[in-house]
Each structure stands twice: as C-alpha cells, then as structure tokens.
C-alpha cells in the first residue's frame, strides 16, 4: 500500500494530549515544538518544508475549546474554533466572521490566530485587535509555569508560550471596522476594533498597522487622526504604508462613532 508521497519527516514526534495538564507538560518550555490548533496556518508550513520540527503538539482533543461565562467575565479556550465566535457581540463577533471562509473558520483556532507569526506578505492574527480592545488577558504555559497577563504582554512572547485561554470582561459596547477583503483567501489589510467598558473608558486597537495587533491609545480620547501617532505601518503585498495611514483614521472614526451611538 502506497504511503503519502509528501512524507513528512518521520523524525517529528506527534503528541496528542488529552487534557490541559498533559498539554502543559508536553509543551514544557516550548523549545523545538510546533503547536497545532486547527492547522490552517502551520500545515502548509509543514507541507512546504518551511518548518521541520522535532515535536508537534496537537491540541484538538486537550479539552481547551469552548466559550464560558462567569458573570460578565468571558473565557475562551485557546483551541476554540473561530467559527464558534462569529455570533459574539462586537468587536469579537464581526472580527471572527471576517476571517477566511466557513471552512477556514471551522478549523482555525483562537490560539492559532493570536499566536500567528508576522505575515510578511500580509498581516495575520485579526483577533489580536478585537481582544486587545476588550482588554483581554491570556493564561499561558511555558518557562516559569502557568501565568496570566495582559494580551499586549503575551503578544511579545506568543511564539514561546502555549496559550491556554483568553479572558475579558464583556464590554458595554463594541465596534469593528475593516477594509474589505478582495477575496476570502486574502488576509485583512487593516482593521480597527473598539470597546467601551462600564465605566465609560474606551479602548481601541488595530491589526495591519504594524507587525502585530496594537493599541491605539492616542485616539481613545476621541481624536481619530491621533491614532497615526501610535503606529508605524509598513508596505506589504496587500497595501502600502501610505494607504494604511490614509485609511486608519477613517476606520477609527467609524469605530468611535459606533461606540458613541450604542446605548
């Protein structure tokens, strides 16, 4: 019987933990291990031999999926598929609905999206923006054990810590605005997420304005143009830095207006 021609390296040890504890133990300090959520980003890297890891950690059956609520605190397991988020309120719901197509959303996970490496041809990790806007924290494993920290801090180390879950307080209002994608297989060139907390504070974040998702603190007082102070966009295959700088204030304005208009 013929085996698959694209024989991936037999040397990769495949680990399939059946619980969070097993996943954490298998991950260890993260050296030489490739984490696979849905596989939508990393499987082509394996297919095209861009990565040849010693170990691969498949999270699908480790019980890390699901959205749960404790009062107004929402927790999303890292292996939750993007499809399961599309009906959540803005900014997360519309942000998730704007990712890929049904087939990609049904496989791709929150963790995979948050931990996506820099896309040199196009930005990746749209959910970083939406989750920054709602002030999410990330519970993760790695060197030093299990920790919980603000998403912006986690993003700096996302390639060396295993995301386990994301939590945030449900905002009172949320909004999401993005450049249209020419086709579902395109990543989103620029998107802005916003949220208003119960005490009235506004948080704004963007994806596509830098190498990964980032806050736009200068615009949170209501001045959309000021967002330009927080970003250093670059050119890529989808859009130029010049274009992104032109459009960013427009998207921020839309988000701010929607947040103001919401009850």
């Amino acid at each position: 019987m013929a085996t698959a021609s694209l024989a991936l390296s037999e040397a990769t040890e495949v680990l399939r933990p059946a619980s969070e504890d097993e996943a954490v133990e298998a991950y260890g300090d993260g050296t030489d291990i490739l984490v696979i959520g849905g596989g939508t980003i990393v499987v082509p890297d394996l297919t095209y031999r861009r990565v040849q890891p010693k170990r691969a950690l498949l999270l699908k059956d480790a019980g890390l999926a699901g959205v749960s609520r404790d009062g107004s605190r929402v927790t999303i397991g890292a292996a939750t598929t993007i499809a399961e988020l599309v009906d959540l309120p803005a900014p997360i719901g519309p942000c998730a609905a704007n990712i890929g197509d049904r087939e990609i959303r049904g496989a791709g996970t929150v963790g995979g999206n948050l931990c996506a490496g820099e896309g040199y041809e196009a930005p990746r990790g749209d959910l970083q923006g939406a989750l920054l806007a709602v002030g999410a924290t990330v519970r993760s494993a790695g060197a030093g054990g299990i920790t919980e920290e603000p998403l912006e801090d986690y993003l700096e180390q996302r390639r060396s810590r295993l995301a386990l879950s994301v939590s945030y307080d449900e905002p009172v209002a949320g909004a999401f605005a993005a450049l249209d994608r020419p086709h579902t297989h395109d990543y989103t060139a620029l998107a802005v997420s916003g949220a208003r907390a119960a005490d009235g504070t506004i948080r704004l974040a963007a994806t596509g304005a830098g190498w990964w998702g980032q806050r736009l603190p200068s615009a949170e007082g209501g001045d959309a143009e000021a967002a330009l102070r927080d970003v250093e966009p670059h050119d890529d295959a989808l859009a130029s830095a010049w274009y992104r700088k032109k459009v960013l204030p427009v998207l921020v304005r839309r988000v701010l207006d929607e947040l103001k208009g919401a009850a």
């Binding site: 399939r16 691969a56 699908k60």
Partner: protein, 171 residues
C-alpha cells in the same frame, strides 16, 4: 489510526501530520479531492467532515480520527447521480472540472444545513472556492436549483443516458 471515508473504514499508515488530502489521494487512491495549491487558498481539496466542509489540505489526518468523511465519490455514481450532481450536469456548471468536487461538497453541506436558493447565501457558502473557467454564475445557478429541489431531465445533457453502447445481436 482509522479513517472512515464514504462509509468505508481504512487503516492508515501515513504519519499523523500528513494532510488528509494526501492520505486520501496517495495512500487510499481516492482522487476526487484535488490538490490545487496545498495551502487552503483554492478549495479544490474540500471534503465533508462530520457534515461540515473542510479544506483537506490543511487538516492533519490525526484530526480526522473518528470522523465521517465524504468525498465527491460519495455523493453518487454515474448511474445514480444525487441532486447536486444532476444540477451541475444540467446547468453546465463544470468546464475543466477541477474545482467541481470542492464546489459540490461545499454546496451539499450548505443544502444539508438548510441552505436555500438565495444567491448571496450560496456565494457566501462557496466563498473560499476558486474557479478559473466558468465565471461562477452557472455554479450558483446549479446550487440554487439543487437547493430548490428542481427536477432535471438529463436525457440531453448526460451523454451516458442515451449513447451508452450495448452488447447484443442485430435486430
């Protein structure tokens, strides 16, 4: 591990990280799903996994453990075409045919979850599928027809129905 495809279960030798597409095509010889890009960008590899359409080129075969997989071969055979297959034949929704398997499986999953002949809903369901030949309109028409439950007279469009050669003596 085992893989259940179109109702039949197979024992798999390929490594657990092998994309489902390659296990189907190379190990099992099930060549209906096509390799258009091997990176999720075209939809030619789509199969149905537990009722949901999925890119088989992006799925490590380990993720299909315990799942029911349907490929285009499982929709129907030439002598017994399913409604979606009949619709594609009748409406000329396939030209080179390379995207057809993925299109029909995404369409079948759409209809199975209650999809109607609403053009925008069909386009959304098939959004990840690329066709370079037809310009899509015939495909959308065919899916709409199947969703509506149209009946098809294939006596003119399905060659086998009236030009199949038969054995036997002269009359």
């Amino acid at each position: 591990m085992n893989l259940t495809v179109n109702g039949a279960t197979h024992e798999i030798e390929s490594g657990l990280l092998t994309p489902l597409l390659d296990v189907l095509r190379e190990e099992l010889g099930i060549t209906g799903p096509k390799a258009g890009c091997h990176q999720g960008g075209c939809g030619a590899c789509t199969v149905i996994v537990d009722g949901e359409p999925r890119r088989s080129c992006l799925m490590p075969v380990a993720h299909a453990d315990g799942a029911e997989i349907t490929t285009v071969e499982g929709l129907g055979a030439p002598e017994d075409l399913s409604p979606i297959q009949q619709a594609f034949v009748h409406h000329y929704a396939a030209q080179c045919g390379f995207c057809t398997s993925g299109m029909m499986l995404a369409a079948q999953a759409f209809i199975d979850r209650g999809g109607t002949d609403d053009k925008e809903a069909i386009q959304d369901a098939l959004a990840g599928h690329v066709c370079r030949c037809t310009g899509y309109s015939k495909i959308v028409e065919a899916v709409a027809a199947a969703a509506r439950g149209d009946e098809f007279d294939l006596s003119e469009t399905a060659v086998g129905k009236y030009t199949t050669m038969t054995t036997g003596g002269a009359e």
